[in-house]
């Protein structure tokens, strides 16, 4: 079945490629702006966590995720902010926190959970799986499918 490995788009002058999908789904990205956003978010989230407001910290950390290509460092940092919130939440509170989120933010949280699981050496898989279980109970398999189909990754 060697023919299945042939890149037929190479023969196509006007292929529908990643660049076009990005500009359609994400628009222009200014990496410095995004970086500044993520940095200020990190401070706000930490302040909220110190006050013990995990609910607020979670919503704040899920705001304006850094979408687009060439933002690997910023994305990593953004994921770490969310991980801080997840790690500092008591297991008993997870279900209620997840339920409080609007459905758009549930989808974003699921993206971060998978981004976190992609780096098992940095993040605690146990914590992530606990959150994943509670989130799937609320948002269903549809939420997981949306993480897979959405080109706007974190």
């Amino acid at each position: 079945m060697a023919f299945r490995k042939i890149d037929i788009d190479a023969m196509e002058e006007d292929a529908f490629g990643q660049d076009e999908i990005d500009s359609q789904e994400i628009g222009d990205v200014h990496s410095q702006e995004v970086e500044a956003q993520v940095n200020s978010r990190a401070q706000e989230v930490r302040a909220l966590l110190q006050r013990g407001d995990n609910n607020g910290a979670l919503s704040r950390s899920l705001l304006n995720p850094p979408y687009g290509r060439g933002l690997e460092v910023v994305k990593l940092k953004s994921t770490q902010i969310v991980m801080e919130v997840l790690n500092s939440t008591k297991t008993a509170d997870v279900a209620q926190l997840v339920k409080n989120l609007p459905s758009e933010e549930q989808d974003v949280l699921m993206k971060y959970l998978y981004a976190g699981m992609a780096a098992p050496e940095q993040n605690s898989s146990g914590v992530l799986l606990a959150w994943h279980e509670k989130l799937t109970e609320v948002a269903g398999q549809g939420c997981i499918v949306r993480v897979i189909t959405d080109r706007r990754t974190v």
Partner: protein, 374 residues
């Protein structure tokens, strides 16, 4: 209220790729994922094979049956479409080749409401709008190309016979004008626009979460458009008010949608059951699953049985049930209206990968709701 159980027909063990009924629902054209379309006829509630339509040489992707003119159109991965007419003298279906002028597979075909045109979707980033040219005694196609960027996966005609909705793998649903000079009369103005020359783009919509669009459908009046994609959302667009609402379903993606009336949509797909969405107040929302198949009661497991199973089959759990607890046992890929007119569908048919064709009554909806306890 009477409970009408869904009528399950099993034609095949393999997948059903598409199906279409004739005007009085006594004949059924169905394709079992091959290059052949089989026509079954119903007599005494038994379906018997009456004809096979053999002309395509790659799998048939879509079939549609024009109710009034009794013509069938089929399209296939072989890049061709045929219009089939029943020759009354010989009682045989005769194919006529259609000039589609496409270089990739044809994916979807639908007759227009007036049955004087049909549209063929394809992988070559265009929709071929076909009409009969009297002078040449031939079906010819005109292409809608811009601004399509990828394969078209589904189509739906507006009741005015001019507007055409297309769901596309470039994550967009679009509404086009498929106005053909000499065939169509000038349509009345609608929320979609007033001046509608061929290939006018009347709207371009996306669910906002990516996902190629599996199915599009105009509401019975044609004033509202719904579409669903692989991101498991259903988006309802109302051009008059400018509202675009996306419902994020907690279930697996839907493959096909059908409007029962202006306030209810049925969607079905990878969850193997039709789901109902309703317009309540100002919003659309998921209402319920319409497959009330109950889980079979677990057979009481005795310790002796358990040990015997562990011994003979090395299984430790009591249940080795692989059956899905819905009528369909696999993905549903097509829903079509079966009885009632477009603005009030009483029955609809679903077919899918499990080889079943099921006819559902909308009576089930009312019955199902009355069984709900709060």
């Amino acid at each position: 209220m009477s409970t009408e159980a869904p009528i399950v027909n099993e034609f095949n063990l393999g997948p059903v790729s598409c199906h279409a009924f004739n005007h009085n629902r006594t004949e059924l054209a169905i394709c079992f994922n091959t290059n052949v379309v089989s026509i079954f006829r119903k007599s005494d509630s038994v379906w018997t094979l009456a004809w096979t339509l053999i002309e395509h040489d790659k799998p048939v992707t879509s079939v549609d049956w024009a109710p009034s003119s009794n013509r069938i159109v089929t399209c296939s991965q072989d890049r061709n479409a045929y219009v089939w007419t029943l020759d009354l003298a010989s009682q045989q279906w005769k194919p006529t080749l259609v000039l589609l002028r496409i270089n990739r597979a044809a994916t979807f075909v639908r007759w227009s409401p007036e049955e004087d045109k049909f549209a063929v979707a394809s992988g070559s980033r265009c929709i071929s709008v076909c009409y009969f040219e009297e002078d040449n005694d031939w079906w010819v196609g005109k292409h809608i190309k811009k601004p399509i960027r990828s394969t078209i996966l589904s189509l739906d005609w507006h009741p005015n016979n001019v507007l055409l909705a297309a769901g596309c793998a470039d994550m967009k649903a679009r509404v086009f004008s498929a106005f053909i000079k000499g065939v169509d009369k000038k349509p009345a103005p609608s929320p979609w626009g007033e001046k509608l020359p061929f290939n006018t783009v009347c709207g371009e919509f996306s669910s906002g979460t990516g996902g190629w669009v599996h199915s599009v459908a105009f509401s019975p009046s044609g004033d509202v458009l719904a579409f669903t994609g692989h991101d498991a959302t259903i988006t309802v667009v109302n051009p008059a008010s400018g509202s675009v609402q996306s419902i994020r379903a907690p279930y697996l993606p839907y493959m096909s949608i059908l409007w029962l009336n202006e306030k209810q949509i049925v969607a079905a797909g990878h969850d193997c059951a039709p789901h109902l969405f309703e317009h309540k107040g100002q919003q659309w929302a998921f209402s319920s699953s319409l497959d009330s198949a109950v889980k079979k009661a677990d057979v009481e497991v005795t310790a002796r049985d358990t040990f015997r199973r562990m011994d003979s089959r090395a299984q430790t759990t009591g249940s080795n049930d692989t059956e899905v607890h819905t009528h369909h046992q696999n993905t549903i890929n097509s829903i079509r209206a079966f009885a009632g007119d477009r603005s009030d569908v009483n029955q609809y048919s679903t077919s899918g990968i499990d080889g079943k064709l099921i006819i559902w009554s909308t009576n089930n909806i009312a019955t199902g709701l009355s069984n709900l306890s709060i």
